[in-house]
Each structure stands twice: as C-alpha cells, then as structure tokens.
C-alpha cells in the first residue's frame, strides 16, 4: 500500500513552473530514486512534498490524509523528514544538539542517540564538536541522523553525495544501506545514476518538471534512463 501519493502536482518558482503535473506513489519500505538533469525539478518536488515549498496545484496524500495545505512542521510531525541539499546543519550548535533538537519532542520513537551512533559510527567521536567544523561526509551523516531523530516514516534525501569525496560518499551510503535493509521508506535524489539504480527499488526520471521515465530499478538499464534524462525518444518505461 502506498504511504505517499503525489497527484498531478505543480510547483512554481515565480513565473517558472518547476514541477508539472507529477503523479507518483511510494509504497511502505520502498526506495524510490529520483534522477534527472540539473533544473529538472527533483529538489523542488522533494521540497514540495516536505512542505518547504508551496504546491501551486495537485494533491499530496500521506498515510491516507491530504497534507497539501499543511505547513512543513506538521508534515514532519506526521512522519515526513527531508535531508536538504547542502546539509544545512545548525552550524553553530554541536552535533549532539543538532540531533537532540530534532528528537526531543518526547515522541519516544525508535531513533535515539545511541542508535544513531551505532548507525553512523563516524559521528561517535564528534557529538560534542560544532557541526560547522565537521568534514563534508560527517556533516552529511549528521544531517541524515538529524532527520532520523524525528522518527520519520518517509525519508526524503536530496543529493546526499553532492560535494563529497568518493570515500565520504561510500561511508554515507554504507550507513544508508543499513537503513534501507531495516525497512525504511526513502525517496532519494541522486546524480550518480549507477549508484541510484543499485540502491533503489524503483527509479523516476524527471525532465523539465515532468516524469520522463518510471520503472523498476532492477529492470532499468542505464541507457533507458539516459535517454529520458536528455529527452530522447523511446525512453518510456
């Protein structure tokens, strides 16, 4: 059963329509990879689902309820967490404070500081360090950990490998694989197509705000996605 359904969603940046009539659904425990060129609308789509960007049309249904009009904080309380592009940690606060501020609403969920440190061992020695002083890979791990501390039912990951060294990306993805193995529901924006196809159950390729390709990751070839990526014919899944 779908935990998230997006129906004919539109989103704009002023005069520019960044998302055009996108419809997709995500089942519980599924990992959906969103791919596409820069400016295809991936980040806007994630931000609109999370409530950080206002939808100009369409509907977002989460866990059976229409959340299109809800502000971001109420969506987060329902179980949607976004790890934004660029990490955007609270740089002046310690890593521990970043985690506690996200997790302290007394929800009593499964994600605790101890479990975070187990899942992201690179953070163990850095809990008391200022978040702004961490390396890129550590910051990305902390950003994912902060989102997990809200005990989400749907995790939206925007460009988690952007700007990281290959070693740091491997470290972040090693932690993510553990997360996905545990049954998390994830929508992932990823520029690295090969990595996206390896980790996801399904893949959606956006082109100029529209879905140009959608299919099971296992049966999808790199060439099919690349044709959709560049808007070439014969890409439909």
């Amino acid at each position: 059963m779908a935990i998230l359904s997006v129906e004919s969603l539109d989103a704009r940046h002023g005069l520019l329509q960044a998302v055009r009539g996108v419809s997709l659904s995500v089942a519980e425990r599924e990992t959906l990879a969103l791919v596409g060129a820069n400016g295809a609308g991936k980040t806007t789509l994630l931000r609109t689902i999370a409530g950080a960007h206002r939808a100009s049309g369409g509907r977002i249904v989460f866990d059976g309820a229409d959340i299109t009009a809800l502000p971001a904080h109420r969506r987060a309380r329902r179980g949607i967490a976004l790890v934004p592009e660029g990490r955007r940690l609270f740089a002046g606060m310690t890593v521990e404070e970043n985690l506690l501020v996200a997790g302290g609403r007394g929800a009593g969920g499964e994600w605790t500081l101890d479990r975070i440190v187990e899942t992201f061992p690179q953070l163990k020695a850095k809990l008391k360090a200022r978040a702004g002083d961490l390396s890129g890979g550590q910051q990305q791990a902390a950003a994912i950990a902060r989102a997990l501390m809200t005990n989400p039912r749907l995790l939206l990951l925007d460009e988690v490998s952007l700007g990281l060294s290959p070693v740091a990306v491997d470290g972040v993805y090693a932690s993510l694989r553990g997360l996905l193995g545990g049954g998390a529901t994830v929508v992932l924006v990823e520029q690295d197509l090969a990595r996206a196809l390896r980790i996801a159950d399904r893949v959606v390729c956006l082109l100029e705000g529209r879905i140009a390709y959608e299919g099971a990751a296992r049966g999808t070839t790199r060439e099919q996605v690349m044709r959709a990526y560049f808007g070439l014919r014969g890409a439909a899944g």
């Binding site: 999370a50 409530g51 950080a52 502000p71 971001a72 904080h73 987060a76 309380r77 967490a81 976004l82 934004p84 955007r88 609270f90 740089a91 002046g92 606060m93 404070e97 970043n98 506690l100 501020v101 996200a102 302290g104 609403r105 902060r146 989102a147 501390m149 809200t150």
Partner: protein
Amino acid sequence: MILLNQILQGVFLGAYYALIACGLSFLFGVMRIVNLAHGSLAVLAAFLMFGLSDRLGLSPWLALLAAVPVMALVGWLLQLLVLERSLRGGALVPLLSTFGLAIVLDNLLFEGFGADTRSLSPYIGDLSFASWALTNDISVGQLDVLGLAAAVVLLGGLQMLLARTRLGRVIRATAEDPEIVGLIGIDARAVYALATAIAMALVAIAGAFLAMRATFTPYSGGAQLIFAFETVVIGGFGSLWGTLAGGIVLGVAQNLGAYVSPNMFLISGHVVFLAVLVARVWLGEVSWRRLRARVA
C-alpha cells in the same frame, strides 16, 4: 577615591543599561531584528506599572509581577501583527515598522498621560535612596545593587536557558535556520512569538528599573533605545554576556566623562560607542560583507 567611586557608579549604571538592552539583544540574536520600538515599549511598561501603583495603589513589585505577563502578551501580539508581516518584506521593513510603532506608542502615551514627568521612586520607600557605605567616600545605592543583581540573574538565566534547555536549543536552531526547524517538526512562527514574548517580559523588568531609578515621560523611549543600542553594539549584537560588558563599558565611560566635565557625560559614551563600532568594522569582526549578507 573619587575616580574609583565614579567607576563603581558607572558599573551600576552599566548594569541598568544591560537590563534595558538585554531584550533588544535577545530579539536580535533570535530574529535578526533591531526593534526600534524597544525604548518606547520599556516606557509603556513603566507607565503600566506607574498606573497600577498610582491609580490602583498596588505595590510596584506587584505591579511588576502583573506587567511581566502583560508585556509578554504585547510581545506575542507584536510578533504576530507587526514583525512577522514586516519580515516578509525583507530585513529593512521591520526597522521601518518598529520605528513607526515607536512613534505611535509615544504619542498614545502622551495622549493618555500627558507630558508630566513620572517616577515610581516615591512608591518604593527608602529603596530609592538607601545605600551601603563601603568607605567614608564610597557608597553604593541599594537599588543600584538590586539592578546589578537583576542584570546578572536575567542575563545568566537567559544564557542558561539558551545553552542548557531544549527550549534554548530550539530557539538557537530557529535563529540559525527557521526553514530547517520546520522540517524537523518545530513551528518557527511559534518560536518567534515566544522569543518576542520573552524579550518583552525582559522589557517589563527594564521598564520597572527605569521607573524606579529615574523619571520618565511618554517621550523617554528614544533615549532608552539609544543607550540600549549602544550597549548592544559595544557588547556585540546577540551576545548576552557581551550585553552586560557593553553596558558596563558605556556606563563607566559616561561617568568618567562626567568626572572630567559634567557636560561630557553623554558625549563620552557616544564616543566610546563610535570607537567600538569603527574598530569592529576595521578589524573585520563585523565585516561589511557580513553586514550586507544580513541586510540581503
């Protein structure tokens, strides 16, 4: 010995400035807003307490207890009705709207209370003039000591709140990135409203000390704003202990100026303020780039 006394009295005066400034500093630290109605709101609180004491016969301390929640409510409304809407127009609009609010408040108080000078000092008995003699030449006023203690407790309490509590973490996180706090389930609007309410509760306490240690009129807010602003700039915008230090530097500078010549009381404080501001810009602690980024 006279010089030492001037410095000591300057410290107490500085503590009063820190009391006046801490709400301004706190609000700037959380919301990046310079509230130009700050002084007028302190005078509003002073008139509220004066009215409760003079017309209803309440003790000034009970009037203060009543004024704190009333001013907190004023702060909450100020955020929802003025600051939140102003912020949508960019960082400069709150400057204009709070400047306008100050004019409206000053003139409403003038309409309501007239131009007479008022003070709460007749209502606090001996405290307004009682002092402890430290030596034959140096005495400290009990109200001044109370003001210093209040400044330390309030600024220390705020610091503890921000550093040690979940609410403090939430306020600091919201100050850094209000959009991201929304994405982790925190209502940034509510945090801003709470922060403004806390700032106005602090303004009520500042207004009480203004009313008890001096006289005030409906138009006293401008001078209070200037002293508060200078205190915060000297101490560093958004830094709470810096606010106490800034107040003391300003108070001591004014008293040392008065030691040289009574006419130099105000100007010496302004000179120190300007010197600190220029030094900060030149030394790069507040670079123009950062200033521009804040305004953008």
